[in-house]
């Protein structure tokens, strides 16, 4: 759905944020993007929906080169939610904010269905009549995400969705990502939360200085010995496996228990 071919982006200040990047994002996968601040993550997101146009190379979204298409147009294919909800919210009620997204999106089902579904997915029914600005930051973030989810864009891009979320918010957002995976919708998540990537990702890329440094399935990438070089910690499970010097990394508590039992018996 999104294709980056030999893409570089240099800011007017001369900072080369993305270097000769090749990447394909397909509908139906949960792609997680990790990396140090300044590694190029937020520049890459802005290339996905045409807010930035590549300095060299080409970005195509749904077959169209983004160079000639406005971000508003591309948002029907790539729905991008930034980290800071306060840059987005402007309606008096949560329900109005979300239905704005539903009305401005596209999709096979109608706006009312998309609205209902987004409200339910983000657990917003009980705050539907509240003013978004009377809610706490973590709730405002859920409202901002719901509004983009309601657009029904085939690919949803989330920038640091679980940052500052409480237990309930984290569960709701994890469910949202898993729901999109299960329904065959695309989802790109930029995050520092390595354990979230461990739980939800189909594929992980790690950016470093504007280039793809590591790429692969979470089990191989999130325990890679090169990971710390990119300023990213291994997942908790990988750290445990490495700390116990297990011969292979474990994925679940069951596998861990099995390994520990075997070690006991030796």
């Amino acid at each position: 759905m999104i294709h980056l071919r030999d893409v570089s982006y240099t800011y007017p200040t001369g900072v080369e944020a993305i270097r000769r990047l090749d990447l394909d994002v397909s509908v139906g996968e949960a792609l997680f993007v990790l990396g140090h601040n300044g590694a190029g993550k937020s520049t890459m997101l802005r290339l996905f929906n045409g807010l930035l146009k590549p300095t060299t190379g080409a970005v195509t979204v749904g077959g169209a080169n983004t160079a000639g298409v406005r971000p508003a147009q591309l948002s029907k294919t790539v729905g991008l939610v930034f980290q800071n909800p306060d840059a987005q919210l402007f309606r008096e009620r949560v329900s109005e904010e979300v239905s704005f997204g539903a009305e401005h999106g596209a999709g096979s089902d109608g706006a009312p269905e998309r609205f209902e579904r987004a409200m339910a997915l983000l657990g917003l029914e009980r705050v539907a009549d509240r003013n978004p600005y009377d809610l706490s930051l973590s709730w405002r973030k859920r409202v901002a995400i719901a509004s983009i989810v309601a657009m029904g864009s085939p690919i949803l891009v989330l920038d640091e969705p679980t940052g500052g979320q409480d237990a309930e918010g984290t569960r709701v957002l994890t469910d949202l990502i898993m729901d999109r995976r299960n329904q065959g919708h695309g989802c790109v998540v930029v995050t520092h939360d390595v354990d979230l990537a461990f739980d939800c990702a189909d594929r992980v890329i790690v950016l470093r200085e504007g280039e793809i440094y590591l790429e692969g399935d979470p089990m191989s990438v999130l325990g890679d010995p090169l990971l710390p070089e990119a300023g990213v910690e291994p997942s908790t499970m990988h750290r445990v496996s490495q700390g116990l010097q297990l011969d292979s990394s474990v994925r679940t508590v069951d596998e861990l228990e099995e390994h520990l039992m075997r070690t006991e018996e030796v």
Partner: protein
Amino acid sequence: MEAGTNTWSRARVAALYEIGNTWLHRVHPLTKLAAVLPLSVAGFAGDTIRVPAVLLLAAVITLLVSRLGSIVLKSLRLIAPMTFALFVIHGVVRPYPSEPIASWGPISINAEGLALAGTTAARLAVFVVAVTAAMATVHPKIFATALIQRGVSHKLAYAYLAGAELLPEMRLRAAQILDAQQSRGFDTRGSLPRRFRTLFALLKPLLVSSLIGVEMRTLALESRGFSRVGTRTSAAEVEDRGRVLQRLLLAAAVPLIVLAVVW
């Protein structure tokens, strides 16, 4: 905060101040400020462009000789759009009883209009160059310290300092909001009503996010003794001098005002 810092590096840090050690930098900040008044008033002496033009020329030459040409450029950038507007309004748009010196269809250029525009622009330029030269050669903090020394409220000094930083901060917020709104399907182009709607969607988050920021900033300032009563000091020691000269400069404005009125 990655998005924030990134956008920030795209936004320029607006600051008039230029580091340097010219003679103008060494003049006490309030002396420079005091000199702005008689200079700008003198520009209004006489009905013609003569006095402001001479003052302007003298100021520009002085700045160039002092290796402060960048101040001339900065002033020019501020003056240029206003000068253009003045020439359009007075020279072209405004009707005059006398014959135009040239005309193309509905557009006609009038000599009186041009002269008026030129004089007004020159007067304005004297003021802008004087203020820019005064402010670009003093660090804002030194300026604020000098003001507080002379009894100006520290809250006013804060407003001055924060005001100088407001523009880049607003620009940063606006850039974030513009990105977010375009990403949710707002088109920044299109029909007039649509653009108005877009403007609203941009302004509301700008206002609200600024207010949220303001609340936190208010508390943070409170934590730093902002509303504490009592004397204040400054880590940047500014020698309190030039009081006589400053009074003389301010006093010089009086005969100049008289001159400007009667000439």
